[in-house]
């Protein structure tokens, strides 16, 4: 099974390792969306490091817990977490977005063990996850389904279609975590479409809703672990885009920029990875 129950210190070390990975991947591959990846690292680390019941050696086990990273533009973080928790060799991360490689800049179906869905077009992951959760209900299988959404993704109408369906069918084995970093591609989320009050919106739609600081690993683990007896769960994770690298934090230029080798060195130093 996954390293469920890892100590807080282990999870923090894993998160730092993953952040260093995604910074380097962005530099080597020249890819965008680095800040989006850094934003959701702790959600992924908490999920794979301490909550999900999934055996990295049996990533297609029908009874496994499922996680869809609906914000597919941040898949470098998912690749790194999967690699660092044993789904595939960490050396494969060097092949991120190389021509002819198997780890595209946004995931393709079945591109790597543990990648549940090819996302990248926003507004699909929640709905597919609802299908997986409903399948578990129909097949009397008690696995859980987790979906990580971006706040920008809450612009999509399908997100709210799903938000109404899941409570109507009491899909309590479904948990959504919203990476609420308050930025989307070209501006402040709140200025583009009115998201506030985000938690109250999900609550009003019938979700068991909780707000957490999305970079506090114990809080995130606790929020992900809980299951409501009837309602699906929505976790509003307040996060910082570019989290973990001081000169990237809350600077939306890093939605598109990739770092220089010197910036990678600086970031690794800050993260305590060399």
């Amino acid at each position: 099974m996954s390293p469920a129950g890892q100590s807080g210190r282990d999870l923090a070390a894993l998160a730092a390792r993953v952040r260093a990975d995604v910074v380097r991947m962005s530099q080597q591959a020249g890819t965008a969306h680095l800040a989006s990846s850094l934003s959701c690292v702790d959600l992924l680390v908490a999920a794979y490091g301490a909550v999900l019941r999934i055996d990295p050696r049996r990533p297609s086990d029908p009874g496994r817990d499922r996680l869809i990273l609906s914000k597919g533009h941040a898949v470098s973080a998912l690749y790194a977490v999967l690699a660092r928790t044993g789904f595939f060799p960490a050396k494969d991360l060097e092949k991120f977005n190389v021509d002819g490689g198997h780890l595209p800049e946004q995931p393709s179906p079945g591109c790597a063990p543990g990648v549940e869905w090819a996302t990248g077009s926003l507004g699909h992951g929640l709905n597919v996850g609802i299908g997986m959760a409903l399948a578990g209900r129909i097949q009397k299988n008690d696995y859980r389904t987790f979906v990580i959404l971006s706040d920008g993704e809450c612009n999509e109408g399908t997100t709210w279609e799903g938000a109404m369906f899941a409570p109507a069918h009491r899909l309590n084995h479904l948990t959504v975590a919203i990476d609420y970093n308050k930025w989307q591609a070209t501006g402040r989320s709140e200025e583009i479409l009115s998201l506030k009050p985000l938690a109250q919106k999900w609550q009003a739609f019938g979700w068991d809703t909780v707000e957490v600081y999305g970079h506090d690993l114990p809080s995130v683990v606790q929020a992900l672990a809980a299951v409501h007896p009837e309602k699906p769960r929505a976790i509003i994770a307040h996060t910082t885009k570019g989290k973990g690298v001081s000169f990237m934090e809350d600077d939306n230029n890093w939605h598109y920029r990739s770092p220089t080798p010197e910036e990678v060195d600086l970031a690794e130093k800050e993260l305590g990875i060399s």
Binding site: P62, L134, I138, E161, M164
Partner: protein, 306 residues
């Protein structure tokens, strides 16, 4: 056709506990039997078709066989990207059923017409595009759809269409059914135009011309073996569809002719709708007449000298 669909999907659900029926808040009482027999495999997904189609993909990824059902424009145009990515890119065995296709709901206006659906959907990799000609073909296509592992679109009519086949035909997806096999004119019918195609053949016979009638229950995969045979043995091929000629069966046959360049190239006449919307009021029969898709309109085009 929709009653045949409701009956057949209920029978198939009895035989296969992977079958899950999703519908978009239409068909008042149509699925009462299904719902009563299999309450945990029936979901009214509401007026939220994007969620319905992506959700179906999630069900299929977990080993179930979902069937999505609602009025054609809302389960095709509106959800084109859900079909493209969640069904086709992931190659999930989901059956998408559009009801009231073509001009079936003519009086409801262009919001409820579907004259471009087959053209749009046959562009998508892995997706089979089917259009059964009557209630019996519908049952056969639906059975076949659940026996294969690709996403599949089935466009059906409404209710009360004439039943052509005496019973459920034996059918292989993509192999057209030949109902009449004599003559040097070939009428190639897509979907619910089949009864009309047969009536056109009768009208031609009365004018001394024998015509073959073939029901193309699928335009993808296209029965190119039959097309090659017809090209060898006919002088005129006529496609008949309640769909735009552009992108539909007419286009598909023209593409085949252009690409294959058969030794004999019969003249091709494409009967379908033009590049435009219908604005005036009117029922299906009126709409078909307007577009030259009634028996007399098609017959005249067939008999018109080249």
């Amino acid at each position: 056709m929709r009653n045949a669909f409701a009956d057949e999907i209920t029978r198939l659900a009895a035989a296969d506990d992977r079958v899950v029926l999703l519908m978009g808040d239409i068909g008042n009482r149509l699925f009462d039997k299904f719902r009563a027999a299999y309450p945990d495999r029936f979901y009214n997904c509401g007026v939220a078709e994007g969620n319905m189609v992506s959700l179906a993909a999630g069900l299929a990824a977990c080993g179930l066989r979902p069937v999505c059902y609602t009025i054609t424009p809302f389960v095709t145009y509106r959800v084109m990207e859900q079909i493209r990515l969640d069904l086709c890119y992931h190659r999930q065995p989901v059956v998408v059923v559009g009801t009231g296709s073509g001009l079936s709901y003519a009086s409801l206006g262009a919001t409820h017409h579907s004259l471009e659906d087959m053209g749009m959907l046959r562009l998508l990799p892995h997706l089979k595009v089917t259009c059964p000609g009557d209630a019996m073909e519908l049952r056969a296509v639906l059975r076949a759809a659940l026996r294969q592992d690709d996403p599949l679109y089935m466009r059906i009519g409404k209710k009360g269409e004439p039943v052509v086949h005496p019973d459920v035909p034996s059918l292989t997806l993509g192999e057209a059914l030949v109902l009449r096999d004599q003559g040097r004119i070939a009428l190639l019918s897509a979907g619910n135009m089949l009864p009309t195609a047969l009536a056109v053949a009768d009208a031609l016979k009365a004018r001394g011309q024998e015509a073959r009638v073939c029901s193309f229950h699928a335009i993808k995969p296209l029965d190119t073996r039959l097309l090659a045979e017809l090209a060898r043995s006919c002088d005129l091929m006529v496609t008949i569809e309640e769909h735009a000629v552009t992108g539909g069966l007419g286009s598909a046959v023209a593409e085949w002719m252009a690409a294959e360049r058969p030794a004999r190239l019969p003249r091709l006449v494409c009967c379908g709708t033009p590049d435009g919307f219908m604005h005036e009021a009117g029922e299906q029969e009126h709409a078909r007449h307007l577009f030259g898709l009634d028996v007399s309109g098609i017959t005249e085009r067939v008999l018109k000298p080249a």
